[in-house]
């Protein structure tokens, strides 16, 4: 096992603590760069969605994971980004301009949401962001001169510096990947700067942060604005990927999906956003696969355990009927959320850390290392 000796603050905040990081992330980046030449077009399309969801996940992590301000309204920020892009595109504004404009407009609205949120904590903030998202959804449906109402807006093919970039081309994937990587690197730099430290201080204890001289109001608004801006950028890519946007795409359901991304990935590290995005995007094809193949497999197992062909056939058709029930997907979603909260509160990245530590300390690993403290007294909860 490797020991890292830190002799000054610069050592502590290095982007790459040791050479192993450069090698493994370089390898990962290389794999992602050659992906379009290896994977099928369907998987590539899913990978683009992973990039977009992960970008939103990182944005949400800045706000929820590192500043401790829960938000169930990120679908609205995504929608504002997407609609800004679609609207400006109608007037032949070039991509770089409307990309930045979408980020800027979403950021300004994010800051405006941040101001009322200053006085709110915990559950009130969650409810306020839900209300904000519902109001935005209604505005999108009603402001027909700009948003085209419930009929939705068509988004033209992206053209970058005179070259058209179709939504299923490798170039579009590289663009999404570039946005994701830049977002992650930017966020890592943000988090090791004084601003990021202030965010974490606010998360851990607002009162303590204030008494250390952190301007809590300013940093909360900053956190909202940064998070919204990144989500706005993701919104532009989202609009281009779908090539059609309408209000019913940006419902509370989508906001909950974004929260699930960071919840399943892990809320304490940027790895969580990426792992969660992979999970949430890949669960759909996986469930479809189960639905198509599982009944046959179950029948096969039943047959090997000595069921007669008639019973096996019966089991197969029953399993198929169960798999095609309406709403099974929602139930599975629900169970996954509950199971993660109950048994894996640190998410997939937490599990990875636990496994890593288990092998590093081999016979000496203790479960209690990752145990969280429970607080039963109301007055001791400082949020």
């Amino acid at each position: 096992m490797r020991f890292l000796f830190k002799t000054d603050y610069e050592d502590d905040i290095k982007l790459f603590p040791h050479s192993g990081y450069i090698i493994s992330y370089g390898l990962l980046l290389a794999l992602l760069l050659i992906a379009p030449y290896v994977l099928s077009s369907y998987l590539m399309s899913q990978l683009v969605f992973v990039c977009i969801y992960a970008t939103v996940g990182v944005a949400l992590l800045i706000l929820t994971g590192f500043t401790g301000q829960a938000s169930l309204g990120h679908a609205a920020f995504l929608a504002i980004g997407a609609y800004t892009a679609a609207y400006l595109q109608k007037y032949n504004v070039p991509f770089p301009v409307y990309f930045l404009a979408a980020g800027a407009s979403t950021g300004i609205i994010g800051a405006m949401v941040g101001f009322p949120a200053l006085r709110l904590t915990g559950i009130y903030l969650v409810i306020a962001t839900i209300s904000f998202a519902l109001i935005v959804e209604e505005i999108l449906a009603r402001w027909e001169s700009v948003t085209n109402g419930n009929e939705g807006m068509r988004v033209k093919t992206l053209s970058l510096l005179g070259v058209t970039v179709p939504r299923d081309s490798p170039t579009f994937y590289y663009l999404c990947l570039a946005v994701l990587v830049l977002t992650i690197v930017g966020t890592l730099n943000l988090l090791r700067s004084p601003t990021g430290r202030a965010f974490v201080a606010i998360r851990d204890s607002e009162t303590a942060a204030r008494s250390m001289g952190v301007n809590v109001a300013l940093y909360k608004v900053k956190s909202f604005a940064i998070s919204a801006t990144i989500t706005g950028f993701a919104g532009v890519l989202f609009a281009h990927k779908l090539s059609f946007i309408s209000p019913e795409m940006f419902t509370l359901q989508l906001s909950i999906e974004f929260i699930i991304v960071i919840l399943i990935g892990g809320t304490f590290s940027l790895h969580g956003a990426v792992l969660g995005a992979i999970f949430i995007v890949m669960i759909d094809p996986f469930l479809t696969y189960l639905k198509d193949d599982m009944p046959g497999i179950i029948a096969g197992i039943a047959a090997t355990f000595g069921a007669s062909p008639a019973t096996a056939g019966n089991i197969q058709s029953n399993a198929a009927a169960f798999a095609s029930l309406n709403g099974l997907k929602g139930a599975i979603y629900g169970i996954i959320i509950v199971l993660f909260v109950l048994f894996e509160p640190l998410g997939l990245y937490g599990r990875w850390l636990k496994i890593k530590l288990f092998f590093q300390l081999f016979p000496l690993y203790k479960r209690a290392t990752f145990k969280r403290q429970k607080i039963y007294v109301k007055s001791e909860r400082n949020r």
């Binding site: 929820t64 829960a70 009322p116 006085r119 709110l120 915990g122 559950i123 009130y124 969650v126 409810i127 306020a128 839900i130 209300s131 904000f132 519902l134 109001i135 209604e138 449906a141 009603r142 204890s205 009162t207 303590a208 509370l252 909950i256 929260i259 699930i260 919840l263 029930l325 309406n326 709403g327 099974l328 997907k329 929602g330 139930a331 979603y333 629900g334 169970i335 996954i336 959320i337 509950v338 909260v341 109950l342 509160p345 969280r372 429970k374 607080i375 039963y376 007294v377 109301k378 007055s379 001791e380 909860r381 400082n382 949020r383």
Partner: protein, 291 residues
Amino acid sequence: MLDFVQQLVSGVALGCVYGLIALGFVLVYKATEVVNFAQGDLMMLGGFFAFTFIGMMGLNYWIGFAGAVATMALFGMLAERVVVRPILGYPQFSIIMATIGLGYFLRSVAGMIWGTDDLKIETPFSQGVLRMGSLVLAYDKLSVIAATMILCALLWLFFNKTMLGTAMRASSENMLAAYYMGIPVKRVVSVVWAISAAVATCAGVLLAPITFIHSNVGLVLGLKAFPAAVLGGFGSIPGAVVGGVLIGVIESMAGFYLPEGWKDVAPYVVLLTVLLLKPEGLFGLHVRKKV
């Protein structure tokens, strides 16, 4: 004027349903500081159970009603035991997510069992109307208002006059201290969940003649109950009901007097305004925090 009274009464009736759902939030929130995002789905499930007992098994309305309430009370205890108790004491965010997950699950399962059609429960008072001059009031709306008042009175008596109610208030104040004083906190919390689910079921059954029961009704109404609870100050039982009635009236007035689209947004606009100006709500208490 007549229109106004008509709108007022239907707004109050709708508001009572919001109030009852909000009451469920508040009960659980007061006792455990858990915000149950699945409250609306408990209501939906209660409505479906009542439909099963009354519509499908053909029981008497009142027996079916009681049966649904009893079933849901048990279900509330089960949900508390399985989903909430293991994570009690962890940050609020995890608990909110767990109840959102529970809500997802209940909605989908109810859709699988009872289908996605709108279901209707026949009630003894779903037909008649009360005529006062030229004012026509439907019995089903009046029944909601009356039932809400009775339920509130019962709950008030329960919380303020019985041992168990006092124990509940104590454990909501400080779980650890209540435990040291010999209050079986776990059992108390379990009972709170049972009451909350029972109240939700009452809301569901009363609502059934007005807006039909379907698997998404819980989500829609549950989200409307949040503004009600916040308006009332989230920790206050009368506040929840008053908040609910206010939200119901505002919604119904906005639907009648304002342009289309305002009806669905008005409760949330009110909510954001309240949070901006008076975050502790109308009946909220000022709580000091310890660092």
